[in-house]
C-alpha cells in the first residue's frame, strides 16, 4: 500500500495560515478577558489552527489511530498534465466570465466561457462544443434575464 503523505502539505498549510492570521490579528486591539477587543478571538482561533496543523504533521497521516489497515490508498498516480489543463481552463473560464460579463453582455460571455472551460476535458470535440456554447448563451439569457428578470446586460455595450 502506498503511504498517504497528504498530511505534509496539509499540516504545513494549516501552520502557515495560522501564523499568518496571528500576525495580521496582532494589529487588532486584543482587549482583556472581560472586555474582549476585536483581536482576541481571531488570535485564539488562528493559534488553534496552527496547533492542529502541527498535530497533523506529528501524527504523520495516521489520523490518531493505530490501524492504517485497508485504508484507501493515496489518490491514483497523478497525471500532472491533465491536472494543469483542468486548473487552467476552469480558472481562466471563471476569470473571463467575471471580467467580460459587464462589457460584453451575458450572451457572448457565456459563449466564450463555455469554449474555454471545454478545453479542460481531453474528450471535447469542436462541433458539439460550439453548439453547446451557443445553446447555453441563448438559454442563460432567456432564463436569467427574460424569465428571472436579472438586470444583467444581454448584448455587448456600445459606447
Amino acid at each position: 500500500m502506498q503511504h498517504d503523505t497528504t498530511y505534509r502539505p496539509l499540516g504545513a498549510a494549516c501552520i502557515a495560515l495560522g501564523l499568518l492570521a496571528i500576525w495580521i490579528a496582532s494589529d487588532y486591539p486584543y482587549g482583556s478577558v472581560t472586555a474582549m477587543g476585536p483581536g482576541f478571538v481571531p488570535t485564539a482561533v488562528a493559534a488553534l489552527l496552527a496547533l492542529l496543523g502541527a498535530l497533523i504533521l506529528l501524527d504523520g497521516g495516521k489520523d490518531l489511530s493505530r490501524q492504517p489497515e485497508g485504508e484507501e490508498p493515496a489518490s491514483a498516480p497523478a497525471d500532472s498534465l491533465g491536472r494543469l489543463r483542468a486548473m487552467l481552463s476552469i480558472g481562466v473560464a471563471i476569470m473571463l466570465f467575471g471580467l467580460a460579463v459587464k462589457p460584453l453582455g451575458l450572451g457572448l460571455t457565456v459563449f466564450l466561457t463555455v469554449i474555454v472551460a471545454s478545453l479542460g476535458h481531453p474528450g471535447t470535440r469542436l462541433l458539439p462544443t460550439l453548439l453547446l456554447a451557443a445553446a447555453l448563451a441563448v438559454a442563460s439569457c432567456l432564463i436569467f434575464v427574460v424569465l428571472l428578470s436579472q438586470s444583467i446586460p444581454m448584448l455587448p455595450r456600445i459606447d
Binding site: G18, S32, T34, L49, A86, S118, G123, L136
Partner: protein
C-alpha cells in the same frame, strides 16, 4: 403539548404552503433538484449550493420552500442512480446501492424505486409531524438559554459534526478551525474594526456565502472530475427498470422495514453531523439484525432498500429541527439553509416561530407537500431521469459551470464574487486532495460569528471568569457531552464502528 396551537400552526402552514406561487416553486424545486441530483457526481450539497443564488430573488418563504424542494429532490435523485446504476450520488445513499441495485439485477428495479419513494414519503410524513409537535416545545425551552449555553451548544454541534462525520477526526478539526477563521473575516460588530479584509470593501460584511459554497462544492468537484477525465468516456447503460409495482411479498417485506427505518432516522437526524448519512447506515444494519436468516441482504432484499431510504429521509426532515428551533445548522445542507436565510435577512433561531409563524409553519407544511410531489411527479418520470444519465461529462460540466457563475453573478452583480469563487474552488480542490471534508468548514463559517458573539457576551456576564461554563448546570451538561464525544474518538469500539460505518 397543546393540540389547539399545533392545529392552528398547521392551519397557518397550509395557508402558506397551498398558495399557488409556493406550490409552483415547491414543484419546480423538487423537479430541478431531482434533475440535478440524478446527474453523476452531484450530491444534495453541491446541488443546493449551485442553485442557491437563484432563490435569492424570491420572497423568503418561497425561496426556502424552493430550497427544501431541491434538497428532497436531490436526495431522491441520488437514490435513483444508486438503485439503477450502482452510482450513489452521495454518501447517504451508499447503502441503498447494495440491495437497490440487487433488485435491479433481478429485473425489479422499478419496484425498488417505488419502495424507495413510498418509504421516503412515509418517513417524510412522520418526520413532518414530528417537527410540528416537537418544534414549539423545543423553541420554548431554548428561549431560556443564556449566552454560555448557546456557546456550549455550538461547540457541541461542531464537535459532534466532526466525530460523527466521515474520515479523519484531526483533519476535520483543522477544517473547523479554518472555517471559524474564515467566518471572522469582515467587520467586528462590537468595535467596528475590519478584520482580515485585505483592504477589500467587498469583504466588510464577511466572506460572501454563495461564492464560498459554490466554489467549495461545485467548482472543486468539476476540477476533481476533470483531473480524472480521459479521452474516451464509457457510456452509461442503465438496466431495464421493470414494473413500478412491488409484489405483495416485496411490500410485506418493505413496510415494517420502512417503519423501523423511519424511527431510527427521526432520532439520528437530530444529532449534529449525523443526519441522513448515519441514519441510513444504522437502519441498514438494524434491518440485517432483525431479519436474521430470513433476509437476503446484498442480493436485492426489499427491506434493504426501504429501511435506509426511509431513514435518510426522516433524518433529512428532522435535521431541520435544530435549525428552526436553535438556529444551529447541524450539517452542511442545513448550513446552506442558514446561509440562504441570512441572505434573506432572517436570523434562524427560537424566535422564528413566534415572530414569523408564516415562515416556520409554511416551511414545515411544504416539507410534507414536497414529499408528496416526489411521489406523484418523480416516479412516473423515472424514464426521463434515466435518460439524464446518458449525458456526457464534456457537455455536463460546462452547463454546471455556467449555471453556477451566472447564479453567483446575479446575487450582487459583483465581479469580485466571481473571482472569489475561483479561489474557493481551488481551496476546495486542495482539500479534497488532502482528504479533508468541506462540510465542517462550512458549518464553522456559519457558526463562527455567532460563537464569537456569545463567547464575548458570556465572558462579559462572568467578568472574565471561564468558570461560568461549568457553574451553570445546563452549560455544564453540554460541556460534559462535548468532552465525552471527543474522548470517544480514542475509544477502540467507536473507532472500529467509524471505520466500519464509512468503509464503503
Amino acid at each position: 403539548m397543546d393540540f389547539a396551537s399545533l392545529f392552528s400552526g398547521l392551519g397557518i402552514g397550509f395557508g402558506v404552503a397551498l398558495d399557488p406561487i409556493n406550490i409552483l416553486f415547491a414543484f419546480i424545486g423538487c423537479l430541478v433538484g431531482t434533475l440535478v441530483g440524478v446527474l453523476p457526481g452531484l450530491g444534495p450539497t453541491a446541488t443546493i449550493a449551485i442553485l442557491l443564488p437563484m432563490t435569492t430573488s424570491l420572497s423568503p418563504v418561497t425561496g426556502l420552500i424552493t430550497l427544501a424542494g431541491i434538497y428532497y429532490g436531490a436526495q431522491y435523485g441520488g437514490s435513483t442512480t444508486s438503485i439503477l446504476l450502482r452510482l450513489p450520488g452521495e454518501a447517504s445513499s451508499v447503502v441503498t446501492v447494495l440491495d437497490g441495485h440487487g433488485m435491479t439485477r433481478k429485473g425489479r428495479g422499478g419496484a425498488a424505486l417505488a419502495i424507495a419513494a413510498w418509504g421516503s414519503f412515509f418517513a417524510g410524513t412522520v418526520g413532518t409531524l414530528f417537527i410540528a409537535v416537537l418544534g414549539p416545545a423545543v423553541s420554548a425551552l431554548v428561549l431560556k438559554f443564556g449566552a454560555p449555553e448557546y456557546f456550549m451548544l455550538m461547540v457541541l454541534g461542531l464537535v459532534a459534526s466532526v466525530v460523527l462525520a466521515q474520515g479523519s477526526v484531526i483533519r476535520a478539526l483543522a477544517m473547523v478551525a479554518l472555517g471559524l477563521l474564515l467566518g471572522l473575516v469582515g467587520t467586528d460588530p462590537n468595535s467596528g474594526q475590519y478584520r482580515f479584509t485585505f483592504g477589500a470593501l467587498e469583504l466588510l460584511n464577511g466572506i460572501p456565502f454563495v461564492p464560498l459554497v459554490v466554489g467549495l462544492f461545485g467548482i472543486a468537484d468539476i476540477l476533481v472530475a476533470l483531473e480524472k477525465a480521459t479521452k474516451s468516456e464509457e457510456e452509461v447503460r442503465p438496466a431495464a427498470i421493470g414494473s413500478l409495482w412491488p409484489t405483495r411479498q416485496e411490500a410485506r417485506r418493505a413496510a415494517p422495514a420502512a417503519a423501523r427505518g423511519t424511527l431510527i432516522g427521526l432520532i439520528l437526524g437530530l444529532l449534529p453531523g449525523g443526519g441522513a448519512l448515519m441514519s441510513s447506515f444504522v437502519a441498514y444494519s438494524v434491518e440485517k439484525r432483525v431479519s436474521g436468516k430470513d433476509g437476503d441482504f446484498g442480493n436485492g432484499d426489499p427491506a434493504g432498500v426501504a429501511a435506509p431510504e426511509a431513514a435518510n429521509n426522516a433524518g433529512a426532515q428532522t435535521s431541520f429541527l435544530p435549525l428552526l428551533t436553535l438556529g444551529i445548522p447541524s450539517n452542511a445542507v442545513m448550513a446552506l439553509m442558514t446561509g440562504a436565510m441570512l441572505l434573506q435577512g432572517i436570523v434562524p433561531g427560537p424566535k422564528i416561530m413566534t415572530n414569523q409563524p408564516q415562515l416556520f409553519w409554511g416551511l414545515i407544511v411544504s416539507m410534507w407537500i414536497g414529499n408528496l410531489m416526489l411521489l406523484v411527479i418523480n416516479l412516473p418520470l423515472v424514464g426521463v431521469w434515466v435518460k439524464m444519465l446518458k449525458i456526457r461529462y464534456t457537455i455536463l460540466y460546462p452547463i454546471i459551470l455556467i449555471v453556477s457563475l451566472v447564479g453567483i453573478y446575479s446575487v450582487d452583480y459583483s465581479t469580485f464574487d466571481v473571482f472569489l469563487t475561483a479561489l474557493f474552488g481551488l481551496l476546495g480542490y486542495l482539500l479534497q486532495r488532502w482528504r479533508c471534508e468541506a462540510a465542517p468548514l462550512v458549518l464553522a463559517v456559519v457558526l463562527g460569528p455567532m460563537m464569537e458573539e456569545y463567547f464575548r457576551r458570556a465572558m462579559l456576564i462572568a467578568r472574565g471568569d471561564a468558570g461560568i461554563f461549568v457553574s451553570r448546570p445546563l452549560s455544564l451538561g453540554l460541556l460534559v457531552i462535548t468532552l465525552a464525544m471527543l474522548a470517544s474518538i480514542l475509544a477502540p469500539n467507536v473507532r472500529r464502528f467509524r471505520s466500519k460505518a464509512f468503509q464503503e
